[in-house]
């Protein structure tokens, strides 16, 4: 039986009717057509689907959409303000922090929450902070550079 869920996504309120077994990722991607968060593992092991739920990073592929009731969700699409990229997005471009880009939206969202908790992190702290976000292309070095440089601007 379908259930109604009221949630806020990137500042916009949505009321949606969903199957109870729908994941938050499916709701975002299929229901709300927000394709930024990606499914790469489906078991919460790689972080490609990371979005923020009340400012905390979650793996949207293993969170039920029902759990988002009353919550504020932020996705990669919410970071751009008007024509301005978020400092993390700008920094990821400037520091070559992506290659294929598939893990990038999830990593940026993790990094955003991480920098909120730890605005002046060390290199090792950043590495720990994004340990749940797997990247096959970059070897992480340039991602860490991107985050550290964004930290200076936020």
């Amino acid at each position: 039986m379908k259930r109604s869920v009221l949630l806020t996504v990137n500042g916009e309120r949505h009321e949606v009717l969903i199957e109870p077994n729908l994941t938050l990722l499916e709701l975002l991607r299929e229901g709300l057509n927000l394709k930024g968060a990606k499914e790469a593992c489906g078991i919460g092991a790689c972080g490609a689907c990371t979005v923020l739920m009340d400012e905390k990073p979650v793996n949207a592929c293993i969170v039920l959409a029902l759990e988002a009731e009353g919550k504020e969700i932020e996705t990669i699409e919410g970071l751009v303000k008007g024509n301005d990229l978020h400092p993390l997005q700008r920094s990821f471009i400037d520091h070559y922090s992506f290659q294929c880009g598939f893990c990038t939206p999830g990593t940026i969202m993790t990094a955003k929450a991480f920098l909120h908790r730890n605005p002046k992190p060390s290199r090792d702290e950043v590495k720990n902070g994004i340990a749940g976000n797997i990247c096959r292309c970059t070897g992480y070095e340039n991602i860490v550079d991107g985050i550290l440089n964004a930290a200076k601007e936020i």
């Binding site: 990606k38 790469a40 990038t104 292309c137 340039n142």
Partner: protein
């Protein structure tokens, strides 16, 4: 004016901004009107007869639009040696055999339908060990070959053999010889973006395939060949790539799921998408080819290599993709890494009921490199020579022609080895050895200037400039994340005299490009870069032709306007002959100017002014600025003896590692990793380092953690929890060293650098572990369990 404005600079990847905003459209995100979702039913057994398939229940499920089995579609063989069909009928030979496929209105319904298809099997005898599979009386994986002739053995008709010089002569000249056996296992490419495609036919049965291939033109060719056999001869095919979520070799072959997707689209007359789950990515996509090597080498008293003899055995799995051709690349390090006069290399591929394999970053090179570099270390020890010194004695040098007839035009290997020595403090570490700490190194050779494995190794490019000064580049390669849009726009900006931000790139579309052999073999920057430079010369010529025609008019017109505003203005007396010959002019950073006076106060003009004035100017004089170039380098296909100069240039590099081994737990910590690479010239230094870092991380995984566990043909760890890739937490302190000797054939001197970083990483780690604890692990990955077992055996 030789200083480059854009080449050699770390221009940011602004051209790919969509990747940081979530707007980039990957196959996952692509939706066509009316699109259905395809799912595949795989075999339940590693080897069995299909007795019956009952799809009646599944067909009744609401939302199901088509169910296909091998009995519903033409019985056409596909693949490298045509040893499989798209959907399997009668016999399955591995767990990933595609038995049926469903198209439905949602992925969930398609999945549910798979569960309703009833397949009856009769189990057949299996063979999983390639050594067992070669023996007489072993269960046959295939009863007949592609032409229906009965087979008597599991050994493939691909006798890979390479001989140069004479092994016995080499043996006689040897003061020291060693024999080693090493092996490598299956590893998964682990693209973060799963495999998938969307197939869509129009009413005339012309196909558009939205895809992720890195060989758009070869992929199209395979599809055309398939079409010719299924009654669609002459139908048009267009392959269009979405943004690709990584490739690392997976997109080199046209995979079975792509043919299935086309069949479902044909049957339903609707666009159909197939998108793999991570589990499928692990068990239904061919991984890196495993191999077993017996290698023997000798050297004389001075440490000069005298011979190298190696036999390789490859578990081919049940069918044949590019994995079976990895020996053609293994021959390169076997014959040409270090100077070795006498070489013998033989490889045998054997069918088993295991998963089959294909390309992965480095192709067969990482496997063969592990064999060669293990043997280099054991031989150095036997001869009593320091392993670094031993490699220096035998290093390749510029001007060499190797036993495979590879022409070494430029070679920075000596500098790479020495950089590693210096940065690791090698001599001191060797002298004052600390307990459980050790250093090791390994080097590589790889193609870096194309690789002529098809009759044409060319790359076609088209460039146009419009009246706004926008430069559109239509190039024939693909980008799977390596950053080619940035690199090629830098090269075009430099060669054409525009700015990188003027340039837009279209890639990955057969309908909008000329031929390209594919974005593989570390060839794209080299090939597309060379094509671009040559194409830019033609475009520049057209603009300069226009400039000599219009610049005097524009300048004189400007004077007239000035005169009108200011009657006292005196028109300067100018020597217009400076701008009367296109050959005396050039363009740089958007400005057109005479070469003899680049800063001439009147003759320096914005190129956009010239194209705006000269393009659309009425009947007879209007024109377009556009050119195409096809760059096909003068390289050689390997001949019957597997010899020939297949690349314009070769990359060299050395990885050095310092490790600490915990002798209680067997855990290896990498204290330092130096990756020194001869890259020719770095077009974009930071982008290049990204290739090195990424490759090194995958190489460390290959050495220490990554392994697809295949038990009796079944993949036991098909997910990111049980398959151990490195995370950011596995800190590998990499120090890259970029050696830039420049190569005459390269675009602005550049060599390919996509694969090299991975190749010598695992053997360097293995050699360092041996140096640390005195035990040599010869089968990858080097897990703590293997180290503890070896330490126990030693005691």
């Amino acid at each position: 004016m030789s200083e480059y404005l854009y080449v050699g600079k770390s221009i940011p990847r602004t051209i790919e901004t969509d990747k940081v905003t979530g707007r980039a459209i990957y196959i996952d995100d692509l939706k066509r009107p009316g699109m259905l979702y395809g799912k595949i039913l795989y075999s339940k057994y590693a080897h069995a007869k299909i007795k019956n398939i009952d799809k009646s229940k599944a067909e009744k499920l609401p939302g199901v639009r088509a169910i296909l089995t091998g009995y519903d579609i033409p019985d056409v063989r596909v693949g490298f040696i045509k040893d499989q069909t798209v959907l399997k009928k009668d016999v399955v030979r591995q767990f990933r055999d595609e038995v049926a496929a469903v198209a439905a209105i949602s992925p969930e319904i398609a999945e549910e339908a798979l569960g309703l298809i009833k397949v009856e099997y009769e189990v057949l005898p299996t063979v999983f060990d390639p050594v067992e599979a070669m023996k007489e009386g072993a269960p046959l994986v295939h009863e007949v070959d592609a032409r229906g002739r009965p087979l008597k053995s599991n050994i493939l008709p691909l006798p890979w053999k390479f001989y140069a010089g004479d092994i016995e002569t080499g043996r006689k000249a040897s003061a020291y010889t060693v024999k080693d056996s090493v092996s490598t296992t299956w590893v998964n490419q682990c693209c973060m973006g799963p495999s998938g495609c969307v197939a869509e036919f129009d009413m005339n049965n012309n196909l558009t395939l939205y895809d992720q291939t890195n060989v758009i033109h070869l992929g199209k060719q395979r599809i055309m060949e398939y079409f010719a056999q299924i009654g669609l001869k002459g139908k048009k095919v267009r392959v269009v790539n979405a943004i690709v979520g990584g490739s690392f070799g997976t997109k080199l072959d046209t995979d079975i799921y792509e043919f299935i997707c086309m069949q479902l689209a044909l049957k339903t007359r609707k666009p159909v998408k197939i998108l793999f789950s991570r589990e499928e990515e692990f068990f239904a996509l061919p991984p890196r080819q495993p191999a077993i090597f017996d290698i023997e080498q000798g050297c004389d008293k001075e440490g000069r290599l005298t011979f190298r003899k190696c036999e390789a055995l490859l578990d081919n799995g049940a069918y044949t993709s590019w994995g079976a051709t990895t020996p053609s690349v293994m021959m390169m390090p076997m014959s040409s890494l270090y100077r070795v006069p006498n070489v013998s290399f033989e490889a045998t591929c054997v069918y088993t009921n295991n998963i089959y394999c294909q390309a992965m970053r480095g192709y067969g090179n990482p496997q063969a490199n592990f064999a060669v570099e293990t043997s280099m270390d054991t031989l150095a020890e036997e001869a009593g020579i320091d392993p670094a010194e031993f490699r220096l004695i035998n290093r390749n040098q510029s001007g060499d022609e190797t036993p495979q007839r590879l022409k070494i035009t430029s070679c920075g290997l000596e500098e790479c080895i020495n950089s590693v020595k210096e940065k690791l403090d090698w001599d001191k570490k060797k002298k004052d050895k600390k307990k459980a700490r050790g250093v090791g190194m390994a080097s590589l050779i790889h193609v870096a200037g194309g690789a002529r494995v098809y009759m044409s190794d060319g790359h076609g490019i088209m460039i146009k400039v419009d009246q706004n000064g926008c430069v559109d580049v239509f190039e024939s390669g693909t980008d799977q994340g390596q950053g080619s849009p940035t690199v090629i726009s830098q090269i075009v900006a430099e060669a054409l005299g525009f700015k990188p931000e003027d340039i837009s790139l279209t890639m990955g579309d057969t309908g909008l490009s000329l031929w390209d052999a594919g974005t593989h073999a570390s060839r794209h920057t080299f090939m597309a870069g060379n094509a671009a430079i040559r194409c830019c010369e033609k475009v520049k010529k057209q603009i300069l032709d226009m400039a000599v025609q219009y610049m005097p008019k524009l300048i004189k017109g400007g004077f007239k306007r000035k005169k009108r505003k200011d009657p006292d203005f005196v028109q300067p007396d100018l020597d217009y002959s400076l701008i009367s010959n296109p050959e005396d002019m050039d363009i740089r950073d958007r400005m057109v100017f005479p070469k003899s006076d680049p800063d001439h106060p009147y003759f320096k003009m914005d190129v956009r002014e010239i194209v705006r004035s000269g393009l659309h100017v009425g009947v007879g004089d209007s024109r377009v600025v556009v050119a195409e170039e096809f760059y096909d380098p003068p390289t050689e296909m390997l001949d019957r003896e597997m010899k020939g100069n297949l690349s314009m240039t070769y990359a060299f590099g050395t990885t050095g590692v310092e490790v600490e081994v915990d002798e209680e737990t067997g855990e290896v910590t990498i204290l330092k990793l130096i990756a020194a690479h001869d890259v020719g010239k770095a077009i974009n230094p930071t982008l290049l380092l990204g290739q090195v870092y990424g490759a090194v991380y995958t190489g460390v995984g290959y050495g220490l953690t990554e392994e697809i566990k295949v038990v009796n043909g079944r993949v036991m760890n098909p997910n990111f929890r049980d398959y151990k890739m490195l995370t950011a937490k596995d800190v590998i302190p990499i120090t890259p060293v970029v050696v830039e000797p420049g190569d005459e054939a390269g675009p602005f001197g550049a060599k390919g650098i996509g694969e090299p970083g991975l190749v010598p990483t695992a053997p360097a780690i293995a050699n360092a572990i041996y140096d640390a604890i005195g035990v040599r692990i010869t089968d990858l990955p080097i897990t703590p369990e293997k180290i503890l077992t070896a330490l126990n055996d030693k005691q």
